[in-house]
């Protein structure tokens, strides 16, 4: 339990970057920058909580964030395809099989990008996605669960893609390629649950200066919504660059 190679693996490699990004993306950014120009600062010690997984700062943290989104969705769709509700139609089962395949491919591709050699264990051995808050025995329950996760994920991507640094353009490009397919997933499951709702006003701004734009969510908002699926683990995104 306390042996988290997930934590130690990134802590070693990204300490320097974490310091840099904490400086550059803190809420009073320029004031902090000025202060950083005057004196050196040292990283604060990390609190030790066996159930807390703190995503690394900088670009690796963004990849881990996307990894956890894919991990959760893949778990949901694996469960649905293993034991589909009786009232899920044949055509819908085809859709869910594709959703499962896509999310597993995302999970494994992002994992590959984080750790190409496969040398690192990314998760504590007892980490498992917790789906107990969903009703997965009915078509309506499955579609509601899928819509919730897909809308959150689709809303997550436009927020994090601009945060990648110029050192990691291929990583951003990979997630960019995924982001629009996540949007396709979201529109699809929405339309199955509520026909015509593929881009309703709760997900796409309907009026005003921002009409026609996706409503986005910050990592904090998304991970708060995802919290039940990680329990008893808690994923902390406090080190990620702060989106506007």
């Amino acid at each position: 339990m306390s042996d988290h190679s997930f934590l130690s693996a990134w802590r070693e490699q990204s300490l320097g970057r974490r310091l840099f990004l904490r400086v550059s993306a803190a809420s009073a950014a320029s004031v902090t920058l000025v202060a950083a120009g005057c004196s050196t600062s040292t990283p604060e010690p990390t609190a030790v909580d066996p159930y807390q997984l703190t995503l690394p700062a900088g670009d690796p943290g963004l990849l881990y964030y996307a990894y956890f989104l894919a991990l959760t969705q893949a778990a949901l769709y694996q469960k649905v395809t293993d034991t589909p509700p009786a009232d899920l139609t044949a055509a819908e089962r085809v859709i869910f099989a594709d959703l499962r395949d896509h999310e597993v491919i995302y999970r494994e591709t992002i994992k590959y990008v984080i750790d190409p050699t496969g040398a690192t264990v990314l998760l504590p051995t007892d980490f498992a996605i917790n789906l107990t808050s969903f009703t997965l025995t009915t078509r309506a329950g499955v579609l509601a669960a899928a819509q919730l996760l897909e809308d959150l994920t689709a809303a997550a991507y436009p927020t994090i893609l601009p945060l990648f640094t110029s050192a990691n353009i291929p990583q951003r490009t990979l997630l960019l390629k995924i982001s629009s397919v996540q949007a396709r997933h979201a529109a699809t499951v929405r339309d199955l649950l509520t026909p015509g709702s593929f881009a309703s006003s709760d997900v796409v701004e309907n009026t005003g200066a921002l009409a026609g734009q996706l409503r986005t969510k910050t990592p904090t908002e998304v991970m708060t919504a995802f919290a039940p699926y990680f329990a008893p683990y808690v994923i902390t995104v406090a080190n990620l660059a702060v989106p506007v």
Partner: protein
């Protein structure tokens, strides 16, 4: 405030920082969005000037990208106007879906037009009879014909936004985020149109339109590096034949400085069909490919 000490300190934790300063956009981006937006007034003059310079350096690139995006949005909006005017759309759900999509395309036109104007540049324009507009479908076109065009337009739009997103990195006014938000909405439209056509919502090898140029790469005609359309002229990157856009059937993903691409169909531990692996990713198109006569360029009146 000792700027050089700051640079030294950044170099200590980020060895690439001096390289970054070769690209104003890059250093700008690496310093974080918030630093740009909320704290400029509080920064010492020198830092402020550095940021201002970064703004100036990207403005022209940004408006070129935005005018390109606006061209596509005008094309889509006028296409849906003609689709609705054809009275071919069945009432109920299909009519409601097309009306919703048209409403979004109109909103994208409004947003991009005002943004370009705010940046001091002339936006491309179009009406039903002038400027950027959709070339009418032949007489006798059916509902199915229109829907097929809608699918190609939406899927092309998704690829087009992807292709130029990188040029908006570090651009002012969060233009990249705005473009990505529109890109995501275009993908929702594409999924809906595909569902209405009885296709899977994602681009896949069983698509009836899979041989349309929208899903391939390359150009029919060599294009220049600027376009004059709808009362405006804007630059586009020349077609780079040495780096063709990926086909939508591409299964090689995840190449980075640290590792080669992985074959997502065979090398991820759990073998998938190449169709599944390709459908999981939407690929980009170069601007010159999008405006080529074989794609959106061929749909302009």
């Amino acid at each position: 405030m000792n700027f050089f000490q700051l640079i030294d300190q950044l170099a200590e934790v980020d060895p690439d920082v001096l390289d970054r300063f070769d690209s104003r956009r890059a250093v700008f981006n690496s310093l974080g969005t918030l630093a740009r937006r909320s704290a400029l007034a509080a920064t010492p003059l020198f830092m402020g000037a550095l940021f201002q310079k970064a703004y100036a350096g990207t403005a022209s690139v940004s408006t070129d990208v935005l005018n390109y995006a606006l061209t596509l949005e005008l094309l889509e909006a006028d296409f849906y106007r003609q689709f609705i005017a054809s009275t071919l759309i069945p009432g109920g759900a299909p009519a409601a879906a097309i009306a919703k999509i048209k409403q979004h395309e109109d909103a994208h036109v409004t947003l991009l037009t005002s943004t370009i104007r705010t940046l001091g540049v002339t936006p491309v324009a179009g009406t039903s009879t002038t400027g950027v507009r959709f070339k009418a479908l032949p007489a006798g076109a059916t509902y199915a014909n229109y829907l097929a065009v809608a699918q190609v337009l939406e899927d092309t739009g998704v690829r087009a936004y992807k292709g130029r997103a990188a040029e908006l990195i570090g651009a002012p006014n969060d233009l990249l985020t705005i473009a990505l938000q529109i890109h995501s909405v275009e993908a929702r439209h594409a999924a809906q149109i595909r569902t209405m056509r009885g296709q899977l919502p994602w681009i896949n090898n069983n698509d009836d339109l899979k041989t349309d140029p929208a899903y391939l790469n390359g150009v029919r005609n060599a294009t220049g590096t600027s376009l004059t359309l709808g009362g405006a002229t804007f630059a586009i990157p020349a077609y780079d034949a040495t780096k063709p856009s990926p086909l939508e059937s591409n299964v090689l993903q995840g190449a980075t400085a640290a590792a080669a691409a992985v074959n997502t169909a065979t090398a991820l531990g759990t073998p998938y069909t190449a169709d599944d692996a390709a459908a999981a990713f939407d690929e980009y198109l170069q601007a010159a490919e999008v405006v080529d006569a074989s794609r959106a360029g061929g749909l302009l009146a």
